[in-house]
Symmetry: C2
Subunit: 422 residues, 2 copies
């Protein structure tokens, strides 16, 4: 049936999945643009769950300054969630409930800020809206530290975790270099990346050439080869005096097991979760006898707004603004993606891309980004990665700490009966 | 015998023990002040080992810009070491070797930048110099992230790790808060502090009141009480929705065992080193069933020059300058210490203190800094800690990364036979 562009109505914005240092910059872009165009913007509390529960936040109750401060505040200001809607066939009721909530509040534009799962949800909602004769525009808004979304050149959130990882690798390596004579010889930094080595690759920006840290990067794209790894550690320590290793959490052995799960058990015999770094450290100690240290920054890496990349903040804000522009222009089932014009000088722009090309797909790191020996990044990887960590965008500080905003997050009055999950 | 003030001679500077984000700012203070006074400054490569080995670096070969850049470069620019000289009785030969090296190079001022062990070494060297009739002034220069030196109000290096820890606690907690509805409910950050909880205490600056993170701080000053800890985690999750825990690496159970060593074994049955955080996480999972994440920043925390406290950088530089001033004024066996004038506005000055009052002593955190329930910091702790993390002093950046200097570290020609360790 024909869909007219709604002449009035509200916009609903929701955050999905793991948050980033700059997802709130996207929220600022969305809300500021909606306000500029006279459109009322709601947010769903805790992502799609808030939409299902009719737990909506009226962002109009927040001051202009509070919304502007989202640009420099990490985490997800409205709450996010890990909740994947089932397929239309398996649970059509959930999709219908969402349309019911949208209808009750005259929500005509739905902006879902997440990864490829969220793109899928937004796509399905646009379809069911049509099927139910409800005039709705659904826009996916890209976000993920994993940098694994299809079509877009990069993902808002990735540049900042990449920058944090490169800085941390550089700084910790200076520490190790000064201690190596009598103390730590091998330092292992474990970074996020269950399926793709984008974040680990970014650590490679900290140095250049075989003697500069990181000396070894372990990618989930490669099978972990214990003998080759140990030989490289040994050769590096003997040549340089010390060795920095950056390991993706997702590396696996030839049997396909995650190293993080391989072997370590707690006092009760349970497999101990987490920790490629301690596993590798124990291996280095047992087989080579070197003194080691390891670090696992975990959430610190993806929330480190204090060290965010300026270009990442700008892109995060820009996709938020574009999402509203696209929605109000009547586009549907699209995502604003980042298109690279050139590497150096770095040029980029935002364009719409169909959600159907993004939903449920995963962008792998190109094979040409990993050196032939498997332990480093190539010049092509550097050309791609370098502009993404560029520029500083420090948050305002007071008393030595960043000033981060906490929104009031006042609820919109409910109009429907409570939702009962299937 | 009477000691005249040397009218000529050289100054030797050495870095000792674990390095910090600002120890090189002290080196800059030393070298810049020596240059201004027309005194030649050598540095020992890898701390006291370089002095024993006659492996000296001529800092006069470095440009003014390179020395100035030490002010914003983390790690130990000349190398440090973990090497404690034995007592005079047990190994007098080592002390005599040092005097022999000093005599060969006409080193009349020795500045040893470290903690309480280094203060002890500097004190003993000043004594043996006298006994051997060699005119030498020894100055200890304070440095330690542990903040455990006696007499001085605080230790250069501590303010920056304190700031990093408070920022990281704040940022990761915003992340957890946004994910807690469907994912991580308990986040555990493990920080340095084997014997004293200064760094963990600093995390307390990230929030205020029972609902703000960190909700629980675990200090090595307290015996770990599993039941009380779990009850507090549960109550916090039920009230706030999530819980941030900051744990000192040095916490112990009632039997005096480090929690980090308690129970976790690798696949070979060896005790797995490191990890209060995973141990606590496993406990939370087993006993309360909450989803958790944990982080262990390790060297990242003490090398994070990108997030250093301005006041810490200034104090680090000031103790370096004062050490040279004291040495050239003929003082001996002293350390420049930081004296606090007032908390707010924060006022401080540098004064000399006898090494005899600092060597081998350890400053504990005052009992009045920990709340009665054992899980937080008091107003007195906040008054003490708050000024130490104040101010930003970002390093210059290029291509998105801090620009850190690498010195040439050119050696001074040897004059003696190689050293043979006893």
């Amino acid at each position: 049936m024909p869909i007219r562009r709604p002449v009035q109505g509200k916009l609903l914005y929701a955050q999905s999945g793991g948050v980033t240092a700059v997802i709130n910059a996207t929220a600022a872009g969305v809300i500021e643009t909606a306000r500029a165009k006279g459109v009322k913007a709601y947010a769903a509390r805790n992502g799609i769950l808030g939409a299902l529960r009719e737990d909506l936040i009226d962002t109009g109750r927040e001051s202009k300054a509070a919304i502007a401060a989202l640009r420099h505040t990490p985490g997800g200001a409205f709450g996010s969630c890990r909740y994947k809607l089932k397929s239309l066939e398996a649970n059509r009721a959930e999709y219908e409930r969402l349309i019911e909530v949208f209808r009750a509040h005259d929500i005509r534009w739905f902006l879902y800020n997440g990864g490829n799962d969220s793109a899928d949800t937004a796509l399905k909602l646009s379809q069911i809206g049509k099927a139910m004769g409800y005039d709705l525009r659904c826009i996916g808004v890209p976000k993920t530290v994993d940098n694994d979304l299809a079509v877009t050149d990069c993902c808002p959130g990735f540049g900042s975790v990449a920058k944090y990882t490169a800085i941390s690798t550089l700084e910790a390596s200076l520490d190790v270099a000064s201690m190596a004579e009598t103390s730590t010889k091998v330092f292992i930094l474990e970074v996020m990346g269950r399926h793709a080595g984008w974040i680990a690759a970014a650590a490679g920006l900290a140095g250049n050439g075989p003697d500069e840290a990181p000396h070894i990067i372990l990618f989930p794209e490669n099978v972990f080869d214990e003998a080759a790894f140990l030989a490289r550690v040994k050769a590096t320590v003997e040549r340089v005096g010390w060795c920095t290793v950056v390991a993706s959490e997702g590396i696996r052995n030839a049997a396909g097991q995650f190293l993080a799960d391989a072997g370590t058990r707690d006092a009760f015999g349970h497999v101990q979760l987490g920790g490629v770094a301690p596993t590798l450290a124990a291996l280095v100690k047992q087989k080579l006898g070197y003194k080691y240290h390891w670090a696992l920054p975990d959430y610190l890496q993806r929330s480190a707004r204090h060290a965010a990349a300026k270009v990442d903040v700008e892109q995060a804000h820009a996709v938020g603004k574009a999402a509203v522009d696209y929605a109000l222009a009547g586009m549907n089932a699209v995502m604003p993606v980042i298109v690279r014009g050139s590497d150096a000088p770095y040029r980029w722009k935002i364009e719409p891309a169909p959600l159907a090309k993004i939903a449920n797909r995963e962008k792998k790191m190109p094979k040409g980004f990993i050196t032939r020996d498997g332990f480093g990044i190539t010049a092509a990887a550097r050309r791609y990665l370098a502009p993404l960590i560029a520029g500083e965008a420090p948050p305002p500080a007071k008393n030595g700490l960043p000033v981060y905003v906490r929104l009031k997050n006042l609820p919109v009055a409910r109009k429907l009966a409570p939702w009962t999950p299937a």
